[in-house]
């Protein structure tokens, strides 16, 4: 079952004097998120990722299109009851401590008394802020605020978690901790919707991703579907290859590229790689180094965006 389902969702912002400045933030976005997966929405800054999440939470009204979240139509308060949200650039009342912040936002969630206090303490521990809970948040660093925001989003034990750039400003160790936390949440059957412009982050934990650019979805699929299947290797040889050897290699390879002593080949499996090495060795060529060039999501992402720009 799909927990988020949108069809033809569009948003045009009108701002400025007499609403003359127009931004098409989203154009006909149709996508679905399955229950229990980590879904990554990827795109450069200004692609419309934040707008998309805000529409699902009724913070922004769509110009066109429809959507359901957890089976409810947009605008239903029960969507917000069942969701947690970590906005990007969130700001909390600076005069509260971390604990007070959670208690306050928990009470807006309709939680009360001891149950709320227990939950707040438990979450502060979960995000590693237990030693800071009595400190005013104006003294928190960006990374600590991000952790607090994550705890805030988890207060109501949501089925669906919207995270907008969750690792923004967090150091590498913190990022790893957040990733582990998200993975463990997924294992508890929560659905996580992740907005990010950091591809490598999303790649590490997402089950499926959509690539958004200038308000349009360019591609949706698993990481494996979005990255190409070939494996590339870069070999450094002791001499440049002559044409006869190149012609011998070519039938075994998906692609081949020679630059002086450097040879870049693309193969389907390591069987073809080893065949190629055998051919080179039989001609007495020495291999000085060899490295695998993985095609990452980033490569295919940049490739997609560039193709979009030229077409």
């Amino acid at each position: 079952m799909n927990i988020v389902e949108t069809s033809g969702l569009s948003k045009t912002y009108r701002s400025g004097l007499f609403k003359r400045s127009i931004v098409h933030a989203l154009t006909e976005v149709s996508l679905s998120v399955r229950k229990g997966e980590i879904f990554g929405l990827l795109g450069p800054n200004g692609a419309g990722k934040t707008t998309f999440v805000k529409i699902l939470l009724s913070i922004v009204h769509p110009t066109q299109g429809e959507a359901t979240v957890a089976g409810e139509k947009l605008g239903s308060p029960s969507i917000r009851e069942r969701s947690g949200y970590l906005p990007e650039n969130h700001r909390y009342p600076a005069f509260l401590t971390g604990l007070q912040t959670l208690i306050f936002f928990g009470s807006l969630n309709g939680m009360r008394g001891k149950a709320l206090a227990d939950r707040a303490h438990q979450l502060l521990e979960l995000v590693g802020l237990q030693d800071w809970k009595k400190v005013k948040i104006k003294r928190y660093s960006k990374g600590m605020l991000q952790r607090l925001g994550l705890a805030q989003a988890l207060l109501n034990d949501p089925d669906l978690l919207f995270l907008d750039e969750p690792t923004d400003g967090v150091d590498p160790v913190g990022r790893k901790e957040i990733r582990d936390l998200l993975t463990s949440l997924r294992n508890q059957d929560k659905t996580i919707f992740l907005n990010s412009h950091l591809l490598s982050e999303v790649e590490m934990i997402s089950d499926r991703v959509a690539i958004l650019n200038k308000g349009k979805v360019l591609k949706i699929g698993t990481i494996a579907e979005l990255t190409s299947k070939q494996i590339e290797y870069e070999l450094l040889l002791d001499r440049s290859l002559d044409d006869s050897i190149i012609e011998k290699l070519r039938p075994h390879l998906l692609s081949l590229n020679v630059e002086g002593k450097k040879l870049v080949i693309a193969v389907e499996t390591n069987v073809e790689l080893n065949t190629s090495i055998d051919i080179l060795r039989s001609k007495g060529i020495l291999i000085e180094s060899m490295a695998q060039k993985r095609t990452t999501l980033e490569d295919s992402f940049i490739d997609l965006i560039q193709r979009e720009a030229t077409s």
């Binding site: 913070i59 009204h61 917000r80 009851e81 969701s83 906005p87 700001r91 969630n109």
Partner: protein
């Protein structure tokens, strides 16, 4: 939400400042006021009897209390609005508003509890001050005047109605500066409308203009009329002598209830439409 709003107002410092000033005034009055040893209905100020003139048949004690109530109510109200006018825009700040809106509360509930919280912050100050003065009169002068306390209740209600204007401007402009400025302008506007027959009517002898003024008077909270009438709870108004109404009139409160309800509804409607 209401409690947090009060807390935020307190932590912003301005309300605390007024609170401190209020305390000093109460202590000062406690020291300065006394009753004349010969005549227990004569109040003295540093030993000098207060002998009000031209007060018609108004009781002199009532007169002193009315003076006190008028000056303190209008100043706490005005400074109070400075202290809390920024609370509506501060809820709408980028990064904060998203958090509020992602909660299951409706936007109307959010907005109204914010407005009520802001008003309650000012009301706390008003009531604290009123009770302080009331105790000074009761304990030191043995004058227990219930009407004095009651009159401040009306001032609190007047503030809640008046704050509808500030809320609306806050929602539309999202600027604390504008909200404060407008609140200030509105207090003058309201007293000008209140006495429109004497002044604004004279500017231009035109029926449409005069009707417009009348309409404006009735569709906006009648702050100045409400304050005047809250004073009349204490006793007969002695001034100005030619003014007809000397006794309490509930109508300005009824009109203002209706107009401020409409303005709050309009503000909620605006808020519901907006993107953040």
């Amino acid at each position: 939400m209401i409690l947090l709003t009060i807390r935020e107002a307190v932590l912003r410092g301005t309300l605390v400042f007024y609170f401190a000033v209020g305390n000093i005034i109460i202590l000062f009055l406690a020291y300065a006021l006394d009753v004349s040893p010969e005549n227990p209905s004569m109040i003295t100020f540093f030993g000098n009897p207060i002998l009000p003139k031209n007060i018609g048949d108004t009781n002199p004690v009532d007169f002193v209390l009315i003076q006190l109530q008028r000056s303190s109510a209008s100043s706490i109200l005005l400074f109070g609005v400075f202290a809390v006018a920024g609370l509506i825009p501060s809820m709408l700040e980028k990064g904060t508003v998203e958090l509020y809106l992602s909660k299951p509360l409706s936007r109307t509930t959010l907005l109204l509890s914010r407005a009520v919280g802001a008003s309650a912050g000012v009301a706390l100050n008003l009531i604290y001050f009123a009770v302080g003065i009331w105790l000074v009169f009761g304990i030191k002068l043995s004058i227990w005047h219930g009407g004095f306390l009651l009159s401040f209740l009306f001032v609190c209600i007047a503030f809640l109605f008046y704050f509808s204007i500030v809320t609306f401007v806050g929602i539309v402009t999202k600027s604390a500066g504008f909200s404060i400025m407008f609140a200030f302008v509105y207090t003058f506007f309201s007293s000008a409308l209140e006495s429109r027959t004497k002044f604004l009517y004279q500017i231009w002898n035109n029926d449409i203009y005069r009707t417009t003024l009348d309409v404006l008077y009735y569709i906006t909270p009648q702050l100045s009329a409400m304050l005047d009438n809250s004073s009349r709870v204490i006793g007969k108004m002695p001034f100005p002598p030619e003014q007809l109404a000397q006794t309490f009139d509930i109508l300005p409160f009824v009109y203002s209830l209706l107009s401020s309800a409409a303005i709050y509804a309009l503000a909620s409607y605006q808020f519901a439409k907006q993107d953040f």
